[in-house]
């Protein structure tokens, strides 16, 4: 059958959009990689929020809110397909009478094609990869990955645990970890020391959402009261050890310091997941505030390709509450484009959604200023592309040899050709190109993204031919 809408991702935005579209009696299929709904932010929310769950209490009210959304989603009547990896999306040819999309999915080793009139990408974000000396050592991981382990089974990291980075997530995680009885050796804050002064102009806007601000301040106060060691103005982080992480080294304006470490958790903000929209050659724009690409969307959440919509953090990093609002807005846009919602009603619905979104975004300019993406020079010996084991020095040399074209650098170095398709190195390579050519990062662009978006085997790809024949 041809669904009215295929939604990719069952996080806040995808679940909300599914509920809203079903409320308008449109047929919806939801494809998600995880075994249960929730996305990253609400990972494991159904299991963890069963009555009497200690973990749910410790993870906080914003996490528990996901349980209600997941319940509504389960009941909404969408065809929900967990454990489904989307590896390619195509628009059917010009000879088709009605616009239709084909979404190629692997589920339990079986390849299949899902057809839908509209596609909504609610695929969230990934943590910004930040290469530094030793970041590939076992024992170094991201805060986000550690938090997923927490949500997936209450797993706490062991050994002297250091958290390094900037942003709300490391603070939240440290707060959650402490509540669950985990130990933290120290917190290395990489935000510039004058960051609060720089944030001041955005404070009044952020006060519209004073509850979130108060929450953030409370996390910080809690960590301070617990006597957590905190270093500020941290630069030049290094992870050292023979076969795995043994100690870390960093600099502050007061000098170099070192400490034994068993686990080092890194976080320097999130970037939208743009690989599918890049591969579909949608237009993208560069956000200076968030130092990342995002798809260009109209007021209804539609990309520059008709019938393809984006919602949630994949459209720009704004957090879970904004993702719900964006899911609602995209559902309005999709219903309007399928002619089940009049223009007047659609505009009315949009105005309400816009208000909710605007409020949910109130603290964002402040957060973006408080926690800027790191800008320090990446030393030549640091691995940038993990798939092909290429160093910053190798990329720099290639970048300087010719044009400032990321595809040229990709073809010369293979950075971006490995299994991760540049999810780990793409932004860093572009940054090194911008540096080599002394040009704004916004003008460098990104290398071409090719299918498959997710792993698919030769046999799985071939099996689609047999299924059709």
């Amino acid at each position: 059958m041809i669904f009215d809408t295929a939604i990719i991702g069952a996080g806040p935005a995808g679940m909300q959009a599914a509920c809203d579209l079903r409320a308008r009696e449109l047929s919806v299929i939801v494809l998600d990689e995880q075994p249960a709904p929730g996305g990253q932010i609400w990972r494991g929310v159904e299991r963890n929020c069963q009555p009497g769950s200690e973990l749910a209490q410790r993870l906080g009210a914003e996490y528990r809110q996901g349980a209600g959304v997941a319940r509504s989603f389960r009941a909404c009547g969408a065809d929900y397909r967990p454990l489904s990896r989307v590896w390619q999306i195509e628009e059917t040819g010009p000879d088709a009478t009605e616009q239709c999309w084909q979404v190629f999915v692997i589920r339990e080793g079986q390849a299949e094609v899902v057809e839908a009139r509209r596609v909504l990408l609610a695929i969230g974000a990934q943590e910004r990869p930040v290469p530094f000396p030793g970041w590939t050592h076992p024992g170094v991981m991201t805060v986000g990955a550690a938090q997923i382990m927490l949500k997936s089974g209450g797993l706490l990291p062991e050994g002297p645990v250091w958290i390094c980075g900037a942003g709300p997530l490391p603070l939240l995680y440290a707060h959650q970890l402490r509540k669950l009885g985990g130990q933290i050796a120290g917190f290395l804050d990489t935000a510039p020391r004058d960051t609060v002064r720089r944030g001041l102009p955005h404070l009044s806007g952020a006060l519209r959402d004073w509850k979130s601000l108060a929450k953030g301040l409370a996390w910080q106060a809690g960590l301070r009261a617990a006597g957590l060691r905190r270093e500020t103005g941290v630069r030049q982080l290094r992870a050292e050890g023979k076969d795995r992480l043994e100690r870390i080294r960093w600099e502050t304006p007061e000098g170099e310091k070192t400490a034994p470490a068993g686990v080092l958790l890194i976080h320097e903000g999130l970037v939208p997941s743009v690989h599918p929209t890049l591969s579909l050659q949608c237009e993208h724009t560069w956000s200076d505030a968030q130092q990342s690409l995002r798809p260009v969307l109209d007021a209804w959440g539609e990309t520059t390709r008709r019938g393809l919509f984006v919602a949630g953090d994949a459209a720009g990093i704004d957090g879970a509450r904004a993702a719900l609002a964006k899911g609602t807005l995209a559902a309005v846009g999709i219903a309007r484009s399928l002619d089940v919602l009049s223009e007047a009603k659609a505009k009315q619905a949009r105005a309400a959604g816009d208000r909710a979104l605007s409020k949910a975004r109130a603290t964002r300019p402040l957060l973006d200023t408080l926690y800027p993406a790191p800008e320090g020079k990446i030393s030549d010996d640091v691995i940038v592309c993990r798939c092909e084991e290429l160093t910053a020095g190798q990329i720099r040399a290639a970048a300087g040899r010719g044009s400032a074209d990321p595809n040229r650098v990709k073809s010369e170095t293979r950075a971006g050709m490995g299994p991760c398709q540049g999810r780990q190195c793409g932004y860093t390579v572009a940054r090194l190109i911008a540096e080599a050519h002394d040009m704004p990062r916004a003008e460098v662009g990104f290398h071409n993204i090719r299918p498959p978006l997710k792993p698919v085997s030769v046999g799985e790809l071939a099996s689609l031919g047999k299924a059709k024949a």
Partner: protein, 372 residues
């Protein structure tokens, strides 16, 4: 910048092979390259240095190809030394599989026709057992009846070839202007003038247009009509695998890194460099009929490139009569012909005229009087 002896338009494999060859012969050469959105066949190449089966309709092309393949080892040695970049070039011979007894018979007939009644030199037909013996680590699928083997065939990493040609050319003192898409080409009293971005100009007595599919558009205002068309090919590449293919095969080759490249389609879709699941499935199915063991291999990337094709598939080298010193050079097989482009073709361009086999590669071979 002093006026160079030659300007080459296009820093792809064809253009830089010529630039490298000319610079080596004491010429001063400036290469101008296009914009980031150009089609760039050189970056999508499969990497075969291939002789067997080519030139069935154009014997001069068969000879030209064989000569280039013979020049390749020496060309590689010199280029690697000059550029410091290894090319991963090997010449273990190459295979074309037949998936039925009839296909094997047909394949022999095609090759015998090219060879004038007998199999060309270095080509042999292998039955299934003989083929399996040459591929001990690659269990063949049940349909494989055999293959033709060409001793002159080989393969190379085409991206390393391109990087090495550019680097080698620069080492020899050449100059490349990146992101310099040519806006206009016009004649002057003593040669040609190019206009680039922002109205910049460059002059030289000799200009070689090797801009792939953009070539016809650059020379059309001078009244030169080139019959070139795009043909899309889609390819897959797998993750790294244990060595299984000791030699390249048509549509299947294992690279020095261990990845397996699987190709390729022949699609007339205009200037569309997109990929399609249907084509991916088609080439994956064919690969599994030959090597079922590839089934579990993870695909890392699917991409496409546009072949630069003349009506008979052969090279197109032209110096229009009215424009001495202006050359157009395009071909589908820029990797195979890289060696001969850097040597014989560079020599002929320096001498000012095509001689021998290359006379057959002028656009005049396609001149058909218009029917009233």
């Amino acid at each position: 910048m002093a006026q160079p002896d030659h300007i080459v338009i296009g820093a792809g494999t064809v253009g830089v092979s010529l630039a490298y060859g000319l610079q080596k012969r004491g010429q001063s050469v400036c290469v101008v390259d296009g914009g980031a959105s150009d089609f760039r066949a050189a970056r999508a190449n499969f990497g075969l240095v291939w002789v067997q089966g080519k030139g069935g309709n154009l014997p001069a092309y068969a000879r030209w190809t064989a000569e280039s393949a013979a020049l390749w080892p020496r060309f590689r040695d010199a280029l690697e030394q000059c550029s410091g970049i290894g090319l991963d070039y090997q010449k273990p011979g190459g295979l074309v599989f037949s998936l039925s007894e009839q296909a094997l018979i047909d394949r022999r007939a095609v090759l015998e026709e090219i060879g004038g009644g007998a199999l060309p030199e270095g080509v042999e037909m292998l039955d299934r057992d003989a083929l399996q013996a040459r591929l001990p680590d690659a269990p063949l699928g049940p349909e494989v009846a055999g293959a033709s083997y060409g001793a002159s065939d080989g393969h190379v990493n085409p991206l390393k070839l391109l990087a090495a040609l550019q680097q080698g050319f620069l080492e020899l003192g050449g100059e490349i202007l990146w992101d310099w898409p040519v806006q206009t080409l016009r004649t002057t009293d003593d040669g040609y003038e190019l206009t680039g971005p922002d109205g910049e100009t460059l002059r030289a007595p000799n200009v070689i247009v090797a801009a792939g599919l953009a070539t016809p558009g650059i020379v059309a205002p001078l009244g030169v009509d080139l019959p070139l068309r795009p043909q899309r090919g889609q390819l897959l590449v797998t993750e790294r695998m244990a060595p299984m293919l000791p030699m390249p095969c048509s549509g299947l080759r294992q690279t020095a890194d261990g990845t397996v490249m699987i190709g390729t389609t022949h699609e007339d879709v205009g200037l569309d460099t997109g990929t399609t699941q249907a084509s991916g499935t088609m080439v994956a199915e064919r690969a599994l009929r030959i090597l079922p063991a590839l089934s579990g291999a993870r695909i890392v990337r699917q991409w496409s490139g546009l072949r630069v094709l003349s009506p008979d598939g052969g090279p197109l080298y032209t110096q229009p009569e009215a424009y001495p010193g202006l050359w157009t050079v395009s071909c589908h097989s820029g990797v195979t012909l890289a060696a001969i482009h850097a040597e014989r073709l560079a020599e002929q361009i320096l001498a000012g005229a095509l001689t021998g086999d290359t006379r057959h590669f002028s656009k005049d071979r396609f001149h058909v009087p218009t029917l009233a």
